[in-house]
């Protein structure tokens, strides 16, 4: 057993923590893009499209993220690719995020009172105009707090990439623990790292929600 100072541990965790942040950003950005396309397709599309997207959402929400990661990792091999843990984690987390965001955003569009549609239509706006000028701006306001809130789930989700060998904060913790054997300190620090990333986002989401609620929407 080598001697590790507290600073050694912290430094290594910080270095690995960068990859947690990067992976979170990739998953969230990718998930938002895919999720947006899915949301729009789901709202305007024909029933088979809507049905397929719903199935997609249910599949991702009804199965463990860990399994999704395993499937991305081993599924690529079946298709003949040899993918890195990086790629598998990015793809799985992006799809996972897109499914949840699609569900959240659909809820926001549906939460805009139907009277708004009617008011827009009697003013002579067509479907797209109603959507663009009346419905989406309101839905967007509703969507911000839960979307910020969900980013916390994405960050926490990246911890599972450690299981397929991606070295981020959690994996660095287990590796350090194997070498330094100070589990209590190390995992407390790992938890602290996630807390520092997630807690401000949670607070912000709650703040936004209160503001929205205070504005009398809902």
């Amino acid at each position: 057993m080598t001697d590790f100072t507290l600073w050694d541990i912290v430094r290594n965790l910080l270095l690995a923590g960068r990859w947690t942040v990067v992976l979170s950003l990739i998953a969230f950005t990718g998930g938002a893009v895919v999720g947006l396309v899915l949301t729009l397709a789901r709202m305007g599309g024909l029933w088979p499209v809507r049905w397929l997207i719903r199935l997609y959402v249910d599949l991702f929400q009804g199965t463990p993220l860990l399994m999704q990661l395993f499937l991305a990792y081993f599924g690529a091999a079946v298709l003949g690719f040899d993918v890195s843990a990086w790629t598998a984690a990015s793809v799985a987390l992006t799809l996972f995020t897109s499914a949840f965001l699609c569900d959240i955003w659909r809820g926001c569009v549906e939460a805009v009172p139907s009277g708004q549609w009617q008011a827009a239509r009697v003013l002579g706006l067509n479907y797209l105009q109603s959507m663009r000028h009346v419905i989406l701006p309101q839905a967007l306001r509703l969507a911000v707090p839960p979307t910020v809130g969900f980013s916390v789930q994405v960050i926490k989700g990246t911890a599972l990439a450690s299981v397929i060998g991606f070295v981020e904060l959690t994996k660095a913790g287990t590796m350090l623990n194997n070498a330094a054997f100070a589990p209590f300190t190390i995992f407390a620090l790992v938890a602290l790292g996630y807390f520092i990333l997630c807690y401000p986002l949670s607070r912000y989401a709650r703040h936004l929600e209160k503001k929205l609620y205070g504005a009398g929407i809902r």
Partner: protein, 227 residues
């Protein structure tokens, strides 16, 4: 490369064993986690004004820490960290503890939203009738609060069940552990994980149906006629 599921057949026993573990972990967690949440919600709700503000703060911290850290880290902390403090703990106990603490924190928060929303009038009526705070909580506030947040509660229990896949990482022989085990023998990772993922999906559907079945009986009072 083609898919071949036949190599899974010799391992049905392993899958069954894992399935049983996942199911019982989920059932125990659901019951104990909801019980924990009720206690936390009651203590937090009451101690806000009272002299025991410190209790409320501590419970608030517990809820926030759980909600803002990954389950897998909570699990490692309990399983590897506690023995380092001299508290030895088996993998199964660590898994159960982590799951219960996790569900308890989320459910306490869900429940609090249900209590806050519109139950003030009924709580006042109970107080005017002479019920103590605990009596009011138990007889008057709890059931309507649960019925109001029941959909969120169902989702949360499903999330915890799906999240329990992670306990395989501390060698609890659950469904995911079975999958890893089979994969390491037959090297058919994709097929194994596909089948096990489908089993999880069925479990999620089953859990939801069970909850809805119970909910229909528990919350029959909501189906009013005229109003």
């Amino acid at each position: 490369m083609t898919l071949d599921f036949s190599t899974l057949l010799p391992y049905t026993d392993a899958i069954l064993e894992g399935l049983v573990t996942t199911v019982w972990l989920t059932v125990v967690t659901t019951v104990a986690g909801i019980a924990l949440a009720i206690v936390v919600a009651y203590a937090r709700d009451g101690s806000r004004e009272g002299p025991s503000g410190i209790v409320s703060r501590l419970l608030g911290a517990y809820v926030e820490v759980i909600r803002n850290t990954p389950f897998i880290v909570q699990l490692f902390f309990l399983f590897f960290g506690l023995p380092a403090l001299g508290v030895s703990i088996s993998a199964t106990v660590a898994a159960l503890l982590a799951m219960i603490l996790n569900l308890g924190a989320y459910t306490a928060e869900i429940l609090r939203a249900g209590i806050d929303s519109t139950l003030k009038g009924q709580h006042e009526a109970a107080r005017a009738l002479g019920l103590s705070r605990l009596q009011s909580f138990r007889h008057v506030v709890l059931m309507p609060a649960f019925s109001r947040v029941y959909p969120s509660l169902i989702s949360q229990c499903i999330i915890v069940m799906l999240g329990s896949a992670v306990v395989s990482q501390i060698s609890v022989f659950d469904l995911t552990y079975a999958a890893n085990f089979i994969q390491s023998r037959n090297f058919r990772g994709f097929e194994v994980y596909l089948v096990v993922t489908l089993i999880y999906l069925l479990l999620a559907v089953g859990l939801r149906l069970a909850f809805e079945f119970v909910g229909r009986r528990l919350f029959a009072f909501r189906q009013g006629g005229s109003s």
